[in-house]
Structure formats: structure tokens, C-alpha cells
């Protein structure tokens, strides 16, 4: 019976196709010359190149970290190609010039970028390998002073903003993978919401890895000025390949006084096959700074893909009364491994943080929650609430929880709740006795388990997330 439940979560990856497109790929290997080449291809100013080189020189001195609860073979950084772009470079202002194959690719992924088919209420930046191929609704947003574009474009067009904020939350030498990203990042999104503006659309970036033997190193920077609001969503997928591909992204968020940033991720990179061959190594640094008073940053992530996930989206709660939130669903199936959680660093007075983590392990998946809540001396009356729930499907998977708590102010209030449950035969039987199929029963139980997280997603994507979970849980059990 339990193997029956397990069989349902083994579902082929549905986004594993390859787009046959001519690419401009830089040969594998990493050196200062390669970084110079990337910088030239992007048409970057000198300061950007200097910053990249500084990061690279730091990276050379750093050891690859191995403290996480995951195992993988050595990564040969000289075997990775650090730049791949479709040959026909479009002018971003006109979609007519985008290769139809690219438009078709994103359409297949459910991300229409053509004018007439666009998603209502969502502005999309579509990134294919190392370049942004299209950003929709730019004019609509520009009318309110909102900048939403590829980061490579922002470096050229808005250098004063990028220079001010890039690396201000995640420094170029923050950690091994962040340093690597700072040296070689190729594209990603930039969003700037001016003072007092409530962004009228959901901003969204869709990342697609296509080329083989390449790494994806995107960089995202979102700045919300005083009193502004923005909701941003990223999605991603990759073709099925036997080799492991490295994805080392950096995301930085800055929220000033009374500003709110809501950042949602639906991560569906290729997870590898049943035997653990192939799949993406998703080693990502995401951090938000609540710099202003009453600011708020909320992370919501639904992690279903990748062979290995290693990420801890965190909040630095600097401004008084600022709020940090982290809502996470991480699914590991087959041989997937995830070591994920958050860091909430309380500096300001009356800062509050909420952590809700849901880990689902199936197959031989290993799921680890790792979270740090740190309350510093000046953080009077800080509060944290953490809830970590694990669900096991089958008897070959694992769930692990490592909560780190560091409190240096006695006025702090901390709450931590944790639970581990197993989808039981009795639950399935109960649902079946009411006429539901085993598939529907599992899907219902899992969705119910994740409900507290799903309700945090923007409406357009909550359905998508449930569907995604539904897909990975749907199967051929008679």
C-alpha cells in the first residue's frame, strides 16, 4: 500500500524538452578573460567589470562549502560554460524580432510573451540561458515610474541605481556561490518601484536553461522606495539532461520605509531521473533587507524541482517595526535532496518574523529544513514564530530539521512548533471509503498540508502551484 502511494508521486518531468536554436556559447572554463568577455558582450561600464573581477579574485581564495546536509560529486568549474545566448539577438523593444522558436518555447511553458496572449495583470521578463529575451508591459509600468527590465540593461541605463544597491545586501564575497555569481552573472531582472507607488501588476521573471554544459547565473535586484509595494514572482525549468547543471543565482531585495516586497518562487528545475542522474544543482543566495521602518519582506517558495536545492532566503530586519516572512513548500522525490530554510536577523526594535516551512519527502528524497533566527542586542521586543512541518511518503525518504536560535535580547519572544507526519494508509483508506481515488486522496492530503503556504501566493500562481504539485503527485495507480 505505501509503495502504492509512493508510485503516485513518481511522475515524469513535463518541461524537459530542448529548444533547437543556434546559440552563441563561450567555451567552457573560467578565467579573468572569460569575465572580461562576458562584460564586453553585455556592453558593461568599467565599474561593473571591476566589481566582477574583485568577486572573482575573492572566489579563487574561497573553499566550496560542504556543511549542508546534501551529497554530490565534485563540481569541475572549468568544465562549465559561463555564457550562452540565442544567436539572433532581439531588440528588446520589439517582440517582432524575437526568434519565433523562443516565443514558442515560452508558450509551451505556459508563459506567453506575445502581445495578444499576455497574462492579464502580470508583467513578464523571460530569460533564456544567459539573456533576457523579452519583457512585457514595460510602457504600462514606466508611466508610473516603475523600472522593470533585464539587469544587464539596467546596468547600462540606470547605473546610478544599480551601483547604489547591487551587492548592498549580498556582498560580492558573501559566500562561495554568491562570489561566483558576482563574477559571472549574465542576466536576471531589475525592478525599481518609486516612492509611494503600488505596482499595479505582478512582476514576474521566467528562467529557462536550454543549452547543455552551461551554468545559469542570474542576478535579481528589487528596490522598493518609501511607501511602495511590489509583488514579484519567479518561475523556472530546464531540459532533461544526463549531466548535472549548476544554477547559482543571487537575489537582493531592498525595502525602505513603509515599503513591502512580496517575493514568490515556483522552482521547477529538472530534478534528475529515478537513479539520480542529471538534474540541476540549485545553489542560491537570496536575501532581503528591511532597511526602513515598518518595511516588510515576504518570501514564499514552492520548490519541486532540482537535484539538489541549497537556499535560505532571509531577511535582515534593520528598520524598527519591520516584518520578515518565509513560507516554504519543498518537495523531494526520487533522489532529490533539499537543504533549505531561512535566516531572520532581527536588528531593529519591535521587529517580527514568521517562518512556515512544509517539507514533503517521497521516493528516496531527503528534505532538510535549516533556519536561523538571530535576535541582536538592540532588537527590543522582537518576535519570531516558526513552524516546521514534515511529511513523509513511503519509507525510504528522510526529513531533517535544524533550527538555530540565537537570542541576545531578553525581551524577545520566540515560538517554535514542529511536526512530522506520514501519509498513512488510514488517511488514504478514509478518503477512498468516501469514493475518492488514491491519487485524489494523496493530492488532497498534500495540498491540505501545504495550504498555509499556498494561500500566501499571488492568486494567479496559487493555482499553478497546486497544479504543479498535482502533476508531481498524479500517477498511474489503478
Amino acid at each position: 500500500m505505501s509503495s502504492g502511494i509512493e508510485a503516485q508521486v513518481l511522475q515524469p518531468y513535463k518541461y524537459g524538452f530542448v529548444t533547437d536554436i543556434e546559440s552563441d556559447v563561450v567555451p567552457p572554463g573560467l578565467s579573468e578573460d572569460v569575465i572580461r568577455l562576458i562584460s564586453t558582450k553585455k556592453g558593461e561600464p568599467e565599474w561593473m567589470l571591476e566589481w566582477r573581477l574583485k568577486a572573482y579574485r575573492n572566489w579563487l581564495k574561497m573553499p566550496e562549502p560542504h556543511w549542508s546536509n546534501v551529497t554530490y560529486g565534485p563540481i569541475d568549474y572549468q568544465a562549465i560554460s559561463y555564457y550562452a545566448a540565442p544567436k539572433q539577438r532581439p531588440t528588446l523593444d520589439s517582440l517582432d524580432q524575437v526568434d519565433p522558436k523562443l516565443i514558442e518555447t515560452f508558450e509551451k511553458l505556459g508563459i506567453p510573451i506575445e502581445e495578444r496572449k499576455r497574462l492579464a495583470g502580470v508583467a513578464v521578463d523571460a530569460v533564456f540561458d544567459s539573456v533576457s529575451v523579452a519583457t512585457t508591459f514595460r510602457e504600462t509600468l514606466a508611466r508610473q515610474g516603475i523600472i522593470f527590465c533585464a539587469i544587464s540593461e539596467a546596468i547600462r541605463e540606470h547605473p546610478e541605481l544599480v551601483r547604489k544597491y547591487l551587492g548592498s545586501v549580498v556582498p560580492h564575497n558573501d559566500n562561495f556561490f554568491a562570489a561566483l555569481n558576482s563574477a559571472v552573472f549574465t542576466d536576471g531582472s531589475f525592478a525599481y518601484i518609486p516612492k509611494g507607488v503600488r505596482c499595479p501588476l505582478e512582476l514576474s521573471t521566467y528562467f529557462r536553461i536550454n543549452a547543455s554544459s552551461t551554468g545559469q547565473f542570474e542576478r535579481t535586484l528589487i528596490v522598493a522606495e518609501e511607501g511602495s509595494y511590489v509583488s514579484y514572482l519567479e518561475g523556472c525549468s530546464a531540459p532533461v539532461r544526463d549531466e548535472n547543471q549548476l544554477h547559482a543565482a543571487v537575489v537582493e531585495l531592498v525595502a525602505l520605509d513603509d515599503a513591502t516586497i512580496k517575493y514568490s518562487t515556483i522552482q521547477n528545475w529538472y530534478p534528475g531521473d529515478e537513479e539520480g542522474r542529471g538534474g540541476i544543482y540549485n545553489f542560491v543566495t537570496k536575501r532581503g533587507a528591511c532597511r526602513g521602518k515598518n518595511s516588510k519582506i515576504s518570501w514564499t517558495q514552492v520548490e519541486t524541482g532540482s537535484a539538489i536545492t541549497w537556499k535560505y532566503p532571509g531577511c535582515i530586519l534593520q528598520g524598527d517595526n519591520s516584518i520578515g516572512e518565509f513560507y516554504s513548500v519543498a518537495v523531494t522525490n526520487q533522489r532529490q535532496q533539499a537543504d533549505t530554510g531561512t535566516k531572520m536577523i532581527h536588528l531593529g526594535k519591535n521587529t517580527r518574523s514568521t517562518i512556515v516551512s512544509k517539507g514533503i519527502s517521497a521516493g528516496r528524497g531527503q528534505n532538510t529544513y535549516r533556519g536561523l533566527v538571530k535576535i541582536l542586542k538592540g532588537a527590543e521586543h522582537a518576535r519570531n514564530y516558526s513552524q516546521c512541518d514534515s511529511m513523509l511518503i513511503g519509507d525510504r525518504c528522510g526529513a531533517h530539521t535544524f533550527p538555530y536560535i540565537d537570542v541576545r535580547n531578553s525581551t524577545a519572544i520566540m515560538e517554535h512548533e514542529a511536526s512530522t507526519s506520514k501519509i498513512g494508509e488510514d488517511q488514504i483508506f478514509y478518503a477512498k471509503q468516501r469514493g475518492l481515488s488514491a491519487e485524489d486522496a494523496v493530492s488532497m492530503i498534500v495540498n491540505g498540508f501545504c495550504k498555509e503556504v499556498f494561500k500566501e501566493l499571488p492568486m494567479e500562481f496559487a493555482v499553478e502551484a497546486q497544479r504543479l504539485l498535482g502533476i508531481s503527485l498524479e500517477g498511474s495507480v489503478g
Partner: protein
């Protein structure tokens, strides 16, 4: 009574013959015979460990139990060959002794999924959330219950009594042909017992039947059983009218154990 029985001969809904079943290698049912006709209410009584709940679980198709011999037919079909979900879709309902909680899923959502699974099986159209809520409110009115359970997660944080009431709510909504109530009365206070019993009485129709598995006479003061059976050591050892239940209430089960040698 006898004449009435004869007229109903062709209305057999459930027929169990020489049913044997084991759990973890232990034989619990040792040759159960039982015939239930439409329009009837049967009570199955017996001491702890006599196999009452096993019988209920086996009829619903719980995978932990293995049928080793005998047969059970429902509406003339081989019940034991059907999957648990198909039994449910064909109208067999088990009110669980220990209802299971499903976190994050409201009763209303769960009930709609169940109703739609059954409708799909019958080739009927699926009900949307609004249509379903309308239909549900109608049913609540009939049984005289309010809608306070509907937006709570399935059995999560329910008291023992609330869980049992929730089973009866599901019974009322799903309208099965054969309802098996597995010790639904245990853990209920007198008022709750009355509500549950009255609801079961209201749902009684000429084309359905109810099997009540119970330890106690109590519930039978509110629901009129047509037949009372005593299950002992995995077999039905005595059947009779309501007076048998009363006799059990007075004398306990020991006289039956003594009267019937166990194989």
C-alpha cells in the same frame, strides 16, 4: 413479521456467507453469515474482540484485513472483488469508529470531492462549489443541523463526539444504500446520541439499509432495529428482535458465550 420477511426476499441488499478474515495472520472472522434487505436496520452486538469492527472494515475493504474464505455480495455483485473506492461509489458507506483527520481541507471541500467522485461514477455532471453548497444547505435543513462543521478542516481538532457527528453528516450528504455504523454511539453524550440516532432514523428509506455495530443497547432506544445479532468469537451466534438487545443489556454477554461453544 414472518410474512413481511417473505415479501422482502427479493430485496436482498447484502448477503454474507461463511466469511472468514484475518489481520496480521490472526483469524478474527470465523464464518459470518448475514443477510440484509432494503428497508431494514440491523444491529450487530457483541463483546470486545468479537470481530464487530473487523466485519465493518472488511465490508468497506480495508487493506489490512485479508478475506480467507466465504463471500459477500452487494446488490448481487461480488463486493469483495471491488476496490474500496468502488464500493463507496456504489453506495456502501462506513461511519468510522476512529475518523481520520485531514489537515487543511475543509469538510465542505472534502464532501464535494466525495459527492463528485460518486456522481462521476454514475455518469452524472460534477457539481461546482456554489451548486454544491446550495444542495448541502438543503440537506442540512432536512436533518436539522447547522453549517458550523462545513468550514472546519476534516476532523482536525474535533472532539471524539464531534468526529462521530461529522461521520453522520457525511452519511446524510452521501445518502448511501448501505450504511455501516461502526460504534458511532460510543463516546457520545446523551444529547449527541439522540441527534445522531434521529438523523439515522430520518435517513431511513425503503430502498436503503443500515447496519449498526454497537456495544450498547442505548442507541437502540432511539433507532428501531429490525434484527439484532450477537457476534461472538467471529461468528453470529444468535439473532432476534429488539428484545434480544434488551436481554443482552440485562444479562451481559457471558450467557451467550456459555451457551455457544466456540470452535
Amino acid at each position: 413479521m414472518t410474512g413481511k420477511r417473505k415479501r422482502k426476499l427479493e430485496n436482498v441488499l447484502l448477503e454474507i456467507r461463511d466469511l472468514h478474515a484475518t489481520v496480521e495472520g490472526r483469524e478474527i472472522l470465523r464464518g459470518v453469515d448475514l443477510t440484509v434487505r432494503t428497508g431494514e436496520v440491523h444491529a450487530i452486538m457483541g463483546p470486545n474482540g468479537s470481530g464487530k469492527s473487523t466485519l465493518a472494515q472488511v465490508l468497506a475493504g480495508h487493506p489490512a484485513y485479508t478475506v480467507t474464505a466465504g463471500s459477500a455480495s452487494y446488490e448481487g455483485k461480488d463486493l469483495l472483488a471491488m476496490t474500496p473506492e468502488d464500493r463507496a461509489r456504489e453506495g456502501v458507506f462506513l461511519a468510522f469508529q476512529y475518523p481520520v483527520a485531514i489537515r487543511g481541507i475543509t469538510n465542505a471541500y472534502f464532501l464535494r470531492a466525495a459527492v463528485n467522485a460518486i456522481r462521476k461514477h454514475r455518469g452524472e455532471e460534477q457539481l461546482g462549489p456554489v451548486e454544491f453548497m446550495d444542495a448541502l444547505e438543503e440537506k442540512l435543513k432536512v436533518i436539522g443541523w447547522d453549517d458550523s462543521y462545513l468550514n472546519r478542516p476534516v476532523n482536525e481538532g474535533f472532539s471524539g463526539g464531534e468526529k462521530k457527528r461529522n461521520e453522520i453528516l457525511q452519511l446524510a450528504v452521501l445518502e448511501p444504500r448501505l450504511a455501516i455504523l461502526d460504534e458511532t454511539d460510543s463516546g457520545l453524550d446523551i444529547d449527541a446520541l439522540k441527534t445522531v440516532a434521529q438523523t439515522v432514523e430520518k435517513l431511513r428509506r425503503p430502498d436503503n439499509a443500515t447496519v449498526i455495530v454497537t456495544h450498547y443497547y442505548r442507541i437502540l432506544t432511539h433507532i428501531q432495529p429490525d434484527v439484532v445479532h450477537v457476534l461472538s468469537a467471529g461468528r453470529i451466534v444468535k439473532s432476534g428482535g429488539k428484545e434480544l438487545a434488551l436481554e443482552l443489556e440485562e444479562k451481559g454477554y457471558d450467557w451467550i458465550r456459555e451457551a455457544v461453544p466456540v470452535a
